[in-house]
Symmetry: C3
Subunit: 150 residues, 3 copies
Amino acid sequence: MVLFSNDLDKAMAAMILANGFAAAGMKVNIFFTFWGLSVLRKNPAPKVQKDRISKMFGWMLPLGASKLALSKMNMLGIGTALMKDVMRKQNVLTLSELIQSARTAGVRFIACDMAMGVMGISREELIEVDEVAGVATFAELSKKGNTLFI
Amino acid sequence: MVLFSNDLDKAMAAMILANGFAAAGMKVNIFFTFWGLSVLRKNPAPKVQKDRISKMFGWMLPLGASKLALSKMNMLGIGTALMKDVMRKQNVLTLSELIQSARTAGVRFIACDMAMGVMGISREELIEVDEVAGVATFAELSKKGNTLFI
Amino acid sequence: MVLFSNDLDKAMAAMILANGFAAAGMKVNIFFTFWGLSVLRKNPAPKVQKDRISKMFGWMLPLGASKLALSKMNMLGIGTALMKDVMRKQNVLTLSELIQSARTAGVRFIACDMAMGVMGISREELIEVDEVAGVATFAELSKKGNTLFI
């Protein structure tokens, strides 16, 4: 599974599917790339020396799972807050809880090294991942089964 | 196949692929979740008792296949109307016709129970589906073949 | 692989994955449809006789790989220019170079005939592709392996 997006709705869908697949006994790997890297960012951010461009990316991209916004009906954050509220009442896990649950279920997290380079994000700024790797690693994993692009 | 989106262009792509796969002899299941649920809404909507939040979702989300908009170049509806017009002249089936065709070809429609709960949509508000189910059901189906996320 | 999008970030992701899969020894086919057709447009555009609607599509859609914009943080083109600049400094190939590289690696390019009809794009307006075909051709290819929708 490739998680390319940092939309709250898509990241949740990815994690719900990952948890579901793991529960069904499948081995699941998630390759976090491009915008999807944001989902793994630690909040609060650790102090790291950065150049000007990397600082700008750091400032413009959402700081971790709790800061994502809906891809639609965000309405300056009102829609996102409302959706989170409705989900809590329906006992849907939050994105952070879904990530925890996926980790516990053995879902492997791989952070894309090229995206980290472009956005100037270092490993210490991310929550614990199993591996930092490139597309070659992911291609090998893809040979063994289904691949989703989210 | 997971249909997550309610963009007209993506829903059409999903249905064209579903019809194509079915014609090629493959068994196709579509799991309608999140925004994708809108595609299944009956129009006109049946009268149903709802709480305030569910009413709001009902009012803000498109009422079925004929009300979707393009993901790009929608231009307040002008682009969408124009695209529909061009497609009609090119003898491309409408989304509603593609859905009909998929049903006739034996494509199975599964509505996501979690999304229905969150958006306060009940089964009677949807066009005929084969099953209302959760991610566990979909994960089992995914074991048997390709999975697309649209 | 279906390339449905004409966002720069998604088209690049598709090409990076295609190159990675090909390098891992997999046979890769890309089916360019709907917005994704824009990625294949020649720039400058060859002179072709067109009706009014097709001219409008030609004018509104990006003219080839070098003209795409980011799906997020485009900011009237500033974000896209900045991202391209950062990528160049990180020695990431441009989209045009990734396309060249994919072609050299034997990735097959298929242009969707239905999308070409709807948008009034003829084969001579596209860079060299292996085939112009419909969903039936793609469905047959999908039987043999993984399918991504980007």
